[in-house]
């Protein structure tokens, strides 16, 4: 089904990715419907709902849940996926020490639990008759020799330090930000420094689309809680508390320029609930490509709502990117919910339980009252005329 083309000098990462030999970059696959090169976000159920994965050369914005724990989890999955596919990683966080985040990456679930001992023991070859053609092939292993797209992780395990160090992640923490940022009148100095670091990393690893290299790989950039107060951001307001601070949109514009000409994907989480200026979050969304919104039930009265018994929060697709085509991926629905079990984190369509208990108070109001996210796809905040 996929034909192979010769590798050619691409000027932007939006040249038809089919030009690069498809099996040359591990951990990527072409999109089924517009040939865009995709990488896994680390959560296979998320990959499914956004059209296969995150497109290379784009920025994915995750609007944080109020306590930030689930968005941090998504970033961890994104970073862990780097170790599994051999991609490079740049992780920046002002709120938490990135070393700590990296130490807590979830361990991968191996395909066949019996594979830790390599080679066919006589027992195994008796119990499992594998087709003779495949007998000489090595059993699948964890690590970046695996070319599978999307992996499952076990949150009760931590990723092995050797696996993490094989990625050699570049880490940017608050001390580095404070120490190295220089005065700048256009842009918040910390954002400017982050841009500089990203650019350095792209140049150092030869991820730019204008460079020809033998072994192409992808750079994953994970930025945790950008725009939190530790980044000297004041909810979009300048220091005089009246004018707007344009640093964040400017940062996003420059980031887009960097991403469009690099084999890289950037995942940022922003605590958008801290930005109270009307319309500001809408502007941030427009400056990013994929926008996802998480809303956890922790601490709200939705936790007790029997409709949400199984789930830990709501997950919405706010915006999907339109790349190289007239059409963006149009999922069946934009509203999902996520749940976190011991091992797996899944995002799925919100299924109401079949029977609510008779004693449960049936709330007359819509369980999703405020959740009409402004989307670039379609919806408005007007009350739903179909409500009875």
């Amino acid at each position: 089904m996929f034909t192979f083309f010769n590798c050619s000098m691409a000027t932007t990462s939006f040249q038809k990715k089919a030009r690069v030999k498809i099996n040359q970059i591990p951990g990527t696959k072409p999109s089924l419907f517009n040939n865009q090169l995709l990488i896994s976000s680390g959560v296979p159920s998320l990959d499914n709902i956004i059209g296969g994965g995150l497109a290379v050369g784009t920025v994915c914005l995750i609007e944080e849940d109020v306590y930030g724990s689930y968005s941090r989890l998504l970033l961890k999955y994104f970073s862990a996926e780097a170790a599994m596919t051999g991609h490079s990683l740049l992780l920046a966080s002002a709120d938490q020490d990135p070393q700590l985040i990296v130490k807590e990456l979830p361990g991968p679930i191996l395909d066949d639990p019996g594979d830790v001992t390599k080679g066919n023991t006589p027992e195994q070859s008796e119990n499992m008759k594998i087709a003779w053609r495949y007998q000489h092939l090595p059993a699948s292993q964890a690590g970046h020799s695996s070319s599978k797209f999307g992996h499952y992780y076990d949150l009760t395990k931590v990723m092995e330090p050797q696996l993490i160090s094989s990625v050699n992640p570049a880490l940017v923490g608050i001390e580095e930000l404070e120490r190295e940022c220089k005065e700048c009148k256009d842009l918040n100095p910390k954002y400017k420094y982050l841009l500089k670091r990203i650019k350095e990393e792209i140049d150092r690893g030869h991820f730019s689309t204008t460079e020809q290299t033998d072994k192409r790989s992808i750079l994953r950039i994970a930025v945790h809680s950008l725009g939190s107060p530790l980044w000297d951001e004041c909810g979009g307001l300048a220091s005089n508390q009246e004018d707007l601070d344009y640093s964040l949109p400017r940062f996003l514009l420059a980031l887009r320029v960097l991403m469009r000409s690099a084999f890289a994907v950037c995942m940022i989480t922003i605590p958008t609930h801290l930005f109270q200026i009307p319309g500001y979050v809408g502007r941030l969304r427009k400056m990013c490509d994929t926008v996802l919104h998480m809303d956890s039930f922790a601490g709200s009265d939705k936790e007790k709502n029997p409709a949400f018994k199984e789930y830990h929060g709501l997950f919405n697709i706010v915006q999907l990117p339109r790349l190289n085509s007239l059409l963006c991926h149009m999922p069946d629905t934009l509203d999902f919910a996520f749940k976190l079990r011991r091992k797996k984190f899944t995002i799925e369509k919100l299924h109401l339980p079949p029977e609510l208990s008779e004693t449960a108070n049936r709330n007359q109001e819509d369980p999703l009252p405020h959740l009409h996210p402004s989307t670039a796809l379609c919806s408005t905040t007007k009350p739903n005329k179909l409500d009875f």
Partner: protein, 258 residues
Amino acid sequence: MEDVNNVLDIAKDDNLYGEVITLADSTADGTFLIHHFLSFFLGNNRPVCFVSLSQSFGHHKSVCQKLGVSLTQKIESSHLNFFDGLKVFGNRFLDTQPENVDISNTTSLQGFYKAIKTNYEDLQDKNKAPPVVIVDSLNVLLNIGYQVKEISAFVQYLCHLISGPGCDARGTLITFLSIGENGLDEETSLLWRSVVHMSNMDVLVSGLESGYCKDVHGKIEVKRRNLLKKNSQKTMQFKVNDKSVNFFASGMSRAVLG
């Protein structure tokens, strides 16, 4: 795309000399209109001065290729001038030593206007037909810090630029603006209203009031201003496909009618 032309009441060989068209989208994605106009004018051999502020060249090239127009060919034959505004404005925040300081000056859009004017006049010299200026999209300028007054003046300068001496020498101006959820972002709404005031035709693409739908992507409203005719407003629903857009009257989508 023919269907889009029908909705906008534009004939296949219409010149649209001297017209100023404002395209906007609120809760649905209306950028297909830009590609429609690009392919329409380039297909009619009108020179186009395309100022792209929100997407890279590769993206536009791929979409136009699907619509049957090769942007690289048009650039080589001097029918298209592509101004990569994304790089110019973005690079200012990346480099410590920006190259095009005039163009990307924070307070004034004059340098930017002058660059576009040079490109426009260049195209005018090389071609018989008056050029078309397409700007995508104005809200990037607003987001990075330019004031509404400044951008509004910039559009006014562009309107003046395209109006030449005779009827046949007037160019066309098409601007695109993303206004977000209606009314939420005051400044963007203000900018939109002031730009619409200067235009002949105003197109607004928005999402359905009942929410997201996979089969009906949104609705499009076309208003022709400065007309004394009765039917100066049209509303239809649409669905975007890979190479075309289907329009239908509200509620008449094939998916709904079954």
